[in-house]
């Protein structure tokens, strides 16, 4: 452990001198920002939502969940499609856009997780069925999946 010449706290990896090692060889280095996950009033860092569709939303954008943070700036977020219970295709496992019923190059439904300066918005976006492609329209009834959202205190603006 060492305090560097400028300021702060550095903990180096075993075998490295904290006084002069590269940042890649530090465990902890206060010269660098780190993703700081928001902890809510129930001491959770992750917000988990289990969505169950009993109807197929109309063509266009349907807001299916809103999380208010009121930071006044747009934070970094991570979002995961944690689990789904359905035999129908639901791709895009670990990040912010999850595609539903992808056939060839067409996607007919999409779930987006978006951060604004006041909210986290989870939307279902449904595309119109393209004609002449022999495709069947999406049916979300019975689709059941869980999305995890991590909200960080870090500003997404450089």
């Amino acid at each position: 452990m060492s305090v560097v010449n400028d300021y702060g706290l550095v903990i180096s990896e075993e075998g490295y001198d904290a006084e002069n090692c590269a940042p890649e060889n530090t465990i902890f280095d206060t010269r660098y920002d780190t993703p700081k996950a928001l902890i809510d009033e129930t001491l959770n860092t992750v917000r988990r939502f289990n969505f169950l569709f009993t109807t197929t939303p109309p063509v266009g954008t349907t807001r299916i969940k809103t999380i208010t943070h009121n930071f006044g700036y747009t934070p970094l977020i991570f979002s995961y499609l944690d689990r789904y219970v359905s035999s129908s295709p639901l791709y895009g496992f670990t990040v912010g856009r999850f595609y539903v019923a992808v056939t060839g190059i067409y996607w007919l439904g999409q779930i987006t997780v978006k951060a604004t300066s006041t909210e986290i918005q989870i939307d279902f976006v449904r595309q119109p069925l393209p004609s002449g492609q022999g495709l069947s329209d999406i049916n979300m009834v019975g689709k059941n999946f869980t999305i995890n959202v991590y909200i960080f205190s870090n500003d997404s603006k450089p």
Binding site: F28, D33, A37, L38, R48, N50, L90, A115, S117, S156
Partner: protein, 270 residues
């Protein structure tokens, strides 16, 4: 300092949790568990055409770093991955436009997060304890905080701190970096990080299909290989192709201490 085997260094637990027997995932800091170190957050607006590659950010770190790409849409932020392929070398982050738009340009704004954490460096950390204890609500009068240059430690704006014990800092549990080898069960290659935690941890995955020059952020399972997903037991598996060229492929699976199931799900019926 906690009596966790013969570990030396610093351990700080959440308020209300004894550092001597805190679960690893209830620590806010440990000498045993590295953290992500943000090198830069860069915003780039590009007009791109389907089927072409473009430079996003030049970092010149000398190694392929941990990175994530988001899309800025009307001021908001979406964690991006599908509509383009994002890769890093030891010098820069690039994107390959997969947005089919009949030859017309697509203009997007990307936000690129780069960390001083190499993708091609394996990390293995111990598991001391996974028995989570009940913690008290955070009190900012306790803990460890470091402010950014020119910012006061009395600030109530979390952006003014590089480290703050009132926030959960992602602690790296493992980076599984190695060659992705032939899978005898398939006609391709695969690599599996075997979960040694009693819960499913959060993760990210990257791979190189050109011998370790470029590393791409992986698509989720179900997409064309290489892709990755997490199994029910928490293992993280990369499924890769084998074109018979002999070119080595490498996987870099990042696993954090944080469980997927830390909190109960809120049920939402649509």
């Amino acid at each position: 300092m906690a009596e966790q085997s013969n570990v030396y260094g610093v351990i700080a637990s959440m308020l209300g949790v004894d550092a001597f027997d805190a679960a690893d995932q209830d620590l806010i800091l440990s000498s045993a568990f590295p953290m992500l170190k943000i090198e830069s957050i860069t915003e780039v607006t590009l007009s791109t055409v389907y089927g072409n590659s473009y430079d996003l950010v030049t970092h010149n770190l000398g190694y392929p770093p941990f990175f994530l790409v988001f899309e800025r849409v009307g001021g908001a932020l979406i964690h991006e991955f599908f509509t383009s392929l994002f890769e890093t070398t030891s010098e820069k982050i690039t994107m390959f436009d997969y947005v089919f738009n009949s030859g017309n340009p697509t203009t997007k704004t990307y936000v690129v997060l780069i960390c001083r954490n190499p993708l091609n460096k394996a990390i293995s950390t111990p598991v001391f304890s996974t028995q989570s204890r009940e913690a008290a609500l955070r009190d900012r009068n306790y803990g460890l905080i470091t402010s950014k240059p020119g910012k006061s430690t009395d600030s109530t704006d979390m952006r003014d701190f590089t480290f703050h014990s009132n926030a959960r800092n992602l602690l790296i549990h493992a980076v599984d970096y190695r060659e992705i080898v032939t899978d005898p069960a398939t006609s391709g290659r695969s690599m599996t990080w075997v979960n040694d935690l009693p819960y499913r941890p959060i993760f990210f995955g990257y791979c190189s299909i050109d011998g370790g020059n470029k590393y791409r952020f992986l698509y989720g399972g179900g997409q064309a290989a290489p892709n990755y997903n997490q199994l029910d037991n928490g293992d993280v598996k990369i499924t890769d192709f084998d074109d018979g060229s002999g070119t080595k492929h490498y996987g870099s699976i990042w696993v954090f201490k944080d469980p997927f199931t830390l909190s109960a799900s809120e049920q939402v019926t649509i």
